[in-house]
């Protein structure tokens, strides 16, 4: 092993170790600050209580997480497909740019949290209303990212493709799609945590299951430790999904310039 890879490996370890130490110190501060200042545990339980509550409710936590996960995946998935399709239409059809695009912006300006009760009335307490909420939160960043990517296709490459006599399909497939991919990945990174928020909001407004539902139930019955446990579960879910996108995004390493 040469010294460069050794150094790189050490640097990677440093990144992980530094972060780990930081979070451990933060956790210890939480644990002992709560005890030191005598904060009542229904207001802010010590970290150890939260972990204990999470362990006790582990089956429940996993079940609710899976419900929320399902809502997020469907919501994010449909938002991705619809967002890409919509962006392509808006970009390539001038009429759509004059009509549909302003409509999209208007819809984006409606506070989606305010829409949640209506969505639940329309689509019921089940999966579909949460999927729609996740969709609504994730849809717009994808459209914006893809449109930005499309208009960011370098002009000198477009000209080069014309000189190569590339067909419209070849230009789309070999030039536009790869130039859009990096911004698309960025858009997904923004949209994924938003989809989680959307699903949780949907669950808050009306549901029988899911982590949002669990948060409400736990708070209602003064199980503050479990509330925090459910919040941790939401965070872990959101972070995991984000890192999956980040990892998948590493396949798109280039930037068109």
């Amino acid at each position: 092993m040469n010294s460069d890879t050794k150094r790189a490996k050490w640097k990677l370890n440093r990144n992980i170790i530094d972060g780990l130490i930081f979070f451990i110190i933060l956790g210890l501060l939480w644990e002992y600050a709560v005890k030191l200042f005598g904060i009542k545990s229904y207001l802010l339980p010590p970290l150890s209580d939260i972990f204990a509550a999470m362990w006790t409710a582990r089956v429940q936590l996993v079940e609710h997480s899976l419900v929320t996960l399902e809502e997020v995946i469907f919501g994010f998935g449909t938002a991705t497909i619809a967002g890409v399709a919509m962006a392509v239409v808006i970009y390539f059809v001038p009429l759509a740019k004059r009509t549909i695009y302003p409509l999209m912006i208007a819809l984006q300006s409606i506070p989606k949290i305010g829409l949640a009760p209506v969505i639940v009335i329309w689509f019921g307490y089940g999966l579909s209303s949460k999927v729609i909420m996740a969709f609504l939160f994730a849809f717009f960043p994808i459209i914006i990212a893809v449109m930005g990517g499309l208009s960011g296709t370098p002009q000198h490459l477009e000209e080069h493709f014309r000189a190569l006599k590339a067909s419209a399909w070849d230009t789309f497939w070999y030039l536009r799609v790869p130039s859009v991919l990096p911004s698309f990945v960025d858009g997904c990174k923004v949209a994924m945590p938003l989809a989680v928020i959307g699903a949780i909001v949907g669950e808050f407004v009306g549901s029988n299951e899911g982590l949002g539902n669990l948060i409400l139930m736990a708070t209602g019955s003064s199980q503050t430790a479990l509330t925090f446990g459910a919040l941790f579960a939401v965070t872990i879910l959101s972070l995991s999904l984000f890192y999956i996108i980040e990892l998948a995004g590493k396949l798109v390493w280039w930037r068109a310039h």
Binding site: H156, L157, R162, A163, K165, D170, Y174, P178, R255, A256
Partner: protein, 262 residues
């Protein structure tokens, strides 16, 4: 007379071509070319020089079918230009490689877009890799190559779809002198071996004299042809030996005077 005309039938005819870039919101446009007329023979190597921003690139883009022109007419191989013609290959100032494709794929990109079967051109690609000294780089990506190597890939890409006319817009402008010399030689060798018509835009007077049969000097904008000078130097031309000839110096001085740099 009739007979000789047929033999010397030009590959490219440019007849009274003018080009105006329209201004915004009815403002007066910018005249880039004015009444440009010249013919370029089959297998001729012609360089176009002129002050920067004069419109030489505009002329090349007109020949490449990339932009429309307002007046006059242009034919290449007896065809009126409508988009880029099959007979025409273009090499730009920037290599324009796709960052997400390997060197091998970038090389074959043009040929594949123009309908060559990838099986058919495989031996050509292998040969081109050798000619352009890209051995061992087929699976690398453009950002891993130096500017000179990237430009070699770009030239290779254009040669692979076998255009009869090669249009080059300052292809060596961004390269260091040594790399430039080497690519100049490579270009001359290919031109002689493959019998192509080359139109080269350059801002290097020495490069123009070294490579060309004829140098066209263009004026400030709107560009028109100031002068055409036949370069009567023996071929094949070795850069060092050619530059030492007194005639070479004479041509450089004469062209420099025309461009007002001496």
């Amino acid at each position: 007379m009739e007979n000789s005309k047929q033999i010397d039938a030009p590959t490219i005819t440019i007849n009274g071509v003018s080009k105006i870039y329209p201004g915004k919101d009815g403002a007066e446009g910018v005249k880039a070319l004015e009444d440009v007329t010249t013919n370029i023979k089959d297998c001729e190597f012609v360089s176009i020089i002129g002050p920067s921003g004069c419109g030489k690139s505009t002329l090349l883009k007109v020949l490449a079918g990339l932009i429309p022109y307002e007046a006059g007419d242009v034919t290449i191989c007896d065809k009126v230009i409508e988009g880029t013609l099959d007979e025409v290959g273009v090499v730009f100032q920037t290599p324009n490689l796709l960052p997400w494709l390997t060197i091998g794929k970038n090389l074959s990109l043009g040929a594949e877009m123009r309908g060559f079967k990838s099986k058919e051109i495989k031996p050509d690609i292998e040969a081109m890799v050798k000619v352009m000294s890209l051995d061992g780089f087929e699976d690398r990506y453009p950002h891993e190559l130096s500017g000179g190597m990237q430009q070699r890939v770009s030239i290779g890409q254009a040669l692979l779809y076998k255009p009869q006319v090669l249009l080059m817009d300052e292809p060596f402008g961004a390269l260091d002198a040594l790399t430039r010399d080497r690519l100049n030689m490579e270009l001359l060798r290919i031109w002689q071996a493959e019998k192509k018509t080359v139109v080269l835009i350059t801002h290097s007077i020495a490069e123009a004299v070294l490579l060309s049969d004829r140098v066209i000097v263009m004026s400030e904008r709107p560009a028109c042809i100031l002068e055409e000078i036949i370069i009567d130097l023996p071929r094949p031309r070795d850069p060092r030996a050619t530059r030492e000839m007194s005639k070479f110096g004479d041509y450089v001085v004469r062209l420099g005077a025309l461009m007002g740099v001496v």
